[in-house]
Amino acid sequence: MRANPSFILSLPLGGKILLALMLGAALLVPLLNLLTPVDSFFHVPTYLVSLMGKYICYALLALSVDLVWGYCGILSLGHGAFFGLGGYAMGMYMMRQIGTRGVYGNADLPDFMVFLNWKELPWAWYGFDMFGFAMLMVVLVPGALAFLFGWFAFRSRVTGVYLSIITQAMTYALMLAFFRNDMGFGGNNGLTDFKDILGFDIQADGTRSVLFALSALALAGGYLLCAMIVRSKLGRILEAIRDAESRVRFLGYQVQYYKLFVFTFSAMLAGVAGALYVPQVGIINPTEFTPANSIEAVIWVAVGGRGTLYGAALGAVLVNYAKSYFTGALPEVWLFMLGGLFVLVTLLLPKGIVGLVNQFTSRTVRSPLRFLYAGKQP
């Protein structure tokens, strides 16, 4: 299960491309952004750097959804909650970093608390002035929530649409909770007006490039971890659970623990995605918890190709690129395009874009590309 070269070479072509792309982008994009002159053909503008960084964070979220949905049959309509929680943990760290630079100049309390007449920091904010603690929370909070939720749900064998709907209830409840100003997380306005992260100015090109590179590396790392999981013995059992849960149970496996593990791991991954997302877009607010956002993440996976991991990442980037493009180019009708895309993909491409490409390559270009398909197709 170690990530030795032979493991990487055994990955499917799409996975290799993803890894290569991410490693390449993590190196190239910061260089092209920082070192080339602005008018050069090779210059990558900062606008693009943070835009692509955002896409990559979405891709990481899609990856985490695909891990549970594509390989374990758990359709989570609440992964946006884990993404949001990770984002909030990061946001809280950055809020504390503002210190006296806020408009009211209060060293301890963020502006919105001063404003709501709060006299001291709520307990939930303790420790978030430390980067290490905040980073720990980025994975621990979503992980703990997923563990608790999964422990209840999988033990009592809640499956299928019932599970999907209660994951939706979970993210909806969190959304309502975070919208409340009394919760102490900034209410509707959320957390914003960040200044710096670990002392680096968040608006500087350098910081943005580094954040981009980190996101790309996180996606590559996340992909490797997920690939390792699904190709291990554990992964086989997960797939078996996806295809026939009762039979696996009858064979003596403790199904709930396998599910619990993969669900919790996936939530942590989503948390990391959220944490990387927030400094790049500059705001985190409760709309990240809306059920619609979680459903969209599922759609990215379906568009890319469920159960392929790299396909999920591809779907996230493509759909979001389409969204960015159409909201600018065709602001009045872009919802028709997006809606139509979802309908067409479901009808015509049941295995997503990856499925289409695979069909195409396996039919027409038998060799030499087929040689690269050392990894099994799910």
């Binding site: 209830a169 059920p291 459903i295 759609i299 379906a302 009708v333 809606g339 139509g340």
Partner: protein, 541 residues
């Protein structure tokens, strides 16, 4: 107490107004002049005119005062003359404010309306009320009595007693007794009278009486305080009871809204197994159909407006049902056996439908009117008010549910629907056209959602976002009740509504909802297939 002192002065004025009624009437104030003054731009001039007209005591002034209050008093731009108007299709019919003589008809543009503010409105209502204490309209007499109760002036005692003697209407008698007791308790020097008043008041159950009894607790007389305390306890316990009743009503009403929103989904999702994210948009289409029906009625048959909802119900059923059938035939039929993928496709459909409606009707809210029989509330002496539109929605939701259960259980279509959803292959081999049945079932679910839209248009925004606000709740209701069980949907909706409304006073609207969602998540652990789970192996897959 300064408040009551101020009231005393006011009462004194009131007294002056009433005692020499005839004396004033004989002086014959300049009535037409005063009527003209009513339309003045200055509020204080208007107020003077209202007072002067009231002071005449002449019942003839009620008509112009009432017209001013209801916005029917206009001046003609050409000659500045003042008229009471009745709106017609093209303009106004005119009547003389004092004599009621017919003044012909004019176009709308020729008249300008006399404008008033809330301060003038209050004054007008008071004046009309006092003049009507002996008047012919029992509703006005009742309002007048209530006004005196709130103002509590000793000088109104003889007036009230005189009115009581003549009064025949049971309700009005009670209101007058209440007013009289209120004034006695607050103003009388005689302990016995006050004790008697407390006894009378103790029989009433409303917030105003409670407030008044509370002030009696501060009176110096020991026996009065004790009696007030006792009476207050009775009033408060009854108020609490009625508060519970009110909570129950609010809960049922919220439950019926949830039921309406979810019931179509109970078919498309519950029975057919399609995760229908476009369900909310079917509701929205129903609401827009209502809007269209009303537009046609407003423009062509204004007389039918009160019946508009009854026309809208079949129309909405047809429109939403047709859209539903189109979606089923065009998209969903290719996806049977892949329930999770229906989620993606219907999500896309929902985006398209939202944007379509936005393109056609624009993004802003549309005005769906409330028929007159649905406006207002049933008010009880206890202060309990049941609003007609909520009552109508409760009744309507139950009718829809009943009808649906009948269709599913008693018709051959229902039989075939159940057959197809339980075992498609078997039903097919028995000669049932599964394709047609699928289309009809989805059409039925969508049509029912459209009907829900007619009802929801009465209480919510009619905008392209209408459906979005109900979709999550609808799924919760269906899952909580048990997928595939209409009765479960009913109990699911009602219990969620009731729990929500009973939590709201303690926890507030948001926390209450969060608690419910958490409770729902925990409940599903306990009963993983909802409240009323279908038994048997078929459900496993």
């Amino acid at each position: 107490m300064a408040f009551f002192n101020a009231l005393k002065i006011y009462a004194l004025l009131l007294c002056i107004l009433f005692m020499p009624l005839h004396a004033f009437a004989q002086t014959q104030a300049d009535m037409p002049g005063l009527i003209h003054q009513l339309t003045d731009k200055s509020r204080s001039t208007q107020a003077e005119a209202v007072d002067a007209l009231t002071a005449t005591g002449d019942p003839v002034v009620i008509a112009p005062l009432d017209a001013l209050l209801n916005g029917n008093l206009y001046t003609r731009k050409s000659d500045g003359s003042v008229w009471i108007t009745t709106a017609t299709a093209t303009g106004f019919d005119l009547r003389d404010p004092l004599t009621g003589a017919d003044g012909g008809s004019v176009a709308a543009g020729e008249m300008s309306k006399a404008k008033i503010t809330n301060a003038i409105r209050t004054r007008l209502r008071g004046s009309i009320g006092r003049m009507s204490l002996l008047g012919p309209d029992p509703k006005l007499r009742r309002e007048a009595a209530d006004a005196i109760f709130k103002n509590g002036a000793r000088e109104s005692i003889p007036l009230l007693e005189a009115a009581l003697e003549k009064e025949t209407d049971e309700t009005v008698i009670r209101r007058m007794q209440r007013a009289l007791a209120g004034v006695h308790l607050d103003q009388s020097d005689d302990t016995q009278v006050r004790l008697k008043a407390i006894e009378t008041l103790g029989a009433f159950t409303d917030q105003d009486v409670r407030a008044l009894l509370n002030t009696a607790l501060k009176q110096s007389d020991e026996s009065v305080r004790a009696a007030a305390k006792k009476a207050l306890a009775g009033v408060e316990s009854r108020l609490e009871f009625w508060g519970m009743a009110e909570g129950l009503f609010h809960g049922l009403s919220l439950g019926s809204v949830l039921l309406l929103a979810a019931i179509g989904l109970a078919i498309t999702f519950g029975v057919m197994g399609i995760i229908n994210m476009a369900h909310g948009e079917m509701v929205m289409i129903g609401a827009y159909t209502t809007f269209m029906v009303q537009e046609v009625i407003r423009n062509s048959y204004p007389g039918l407006f009160d019946a508009s909802l009854f026309i809208a119900i079949p129309a909405a059923f047809m429109v939403s049902g047709m859209v539903g059938i189109a979606i089923e035939r065009g998209i969903i039929r290719f996806l049977y056996g892949r329930p999770l993928e229906t989620l993606l496709a219907t999500w896309g459909v929902s985006l398209i439908l939202q944007q379509t409606v936005r393109s056609i009707f624009g993004p802003t809210n549309k005005d769906v009117g409330t028929p007159s029989w649905m406006s207002g509330a049933m008010e009880f002496d206890s202060g309990l008010a049941l609003t007609y539109n909520r009552v109508a929605i409760i009744v309507f939701s139950l009718m829809v549910l009943g009808l649906l259960v009948l269709v599913m259980r008693k018709t051959s279509l229902g039989l075939r629907m159940r057959a197809v959803t339980q075992n498609r292959a078997m039903a097919n081999s028995m000669g049932i056209r599964t394709g047609t049945v699928d289309a009809l079932t989805f059409g039925l679910g969508s049509g029912i959602a459209g009907i829900a839209g007619v009802a929801l248009s009465q209480i919510d925004n009619v905008s392209p976002n209408l459906g979005q606000s109900y979709i999550v709740d609808s799924f919760m209701v269906v899952v909580f009740g048990g997928v595939g069980n209409l009765l479960g949907t009913f109990f699911g909706a009602m219990s969620l509504g009731l729990v929500n409304k009973f939590l709201e006073p303690f926890a507030g609207a948001v926390l209450g909802k969060i608690f419910i969602l958490i409770a729902l998540i925990l409940f599903i652990q306990y009963r993983p297939r909802g409240m009323f789970a279908l038994k048997g192996r078929a459900v496993e897959n």
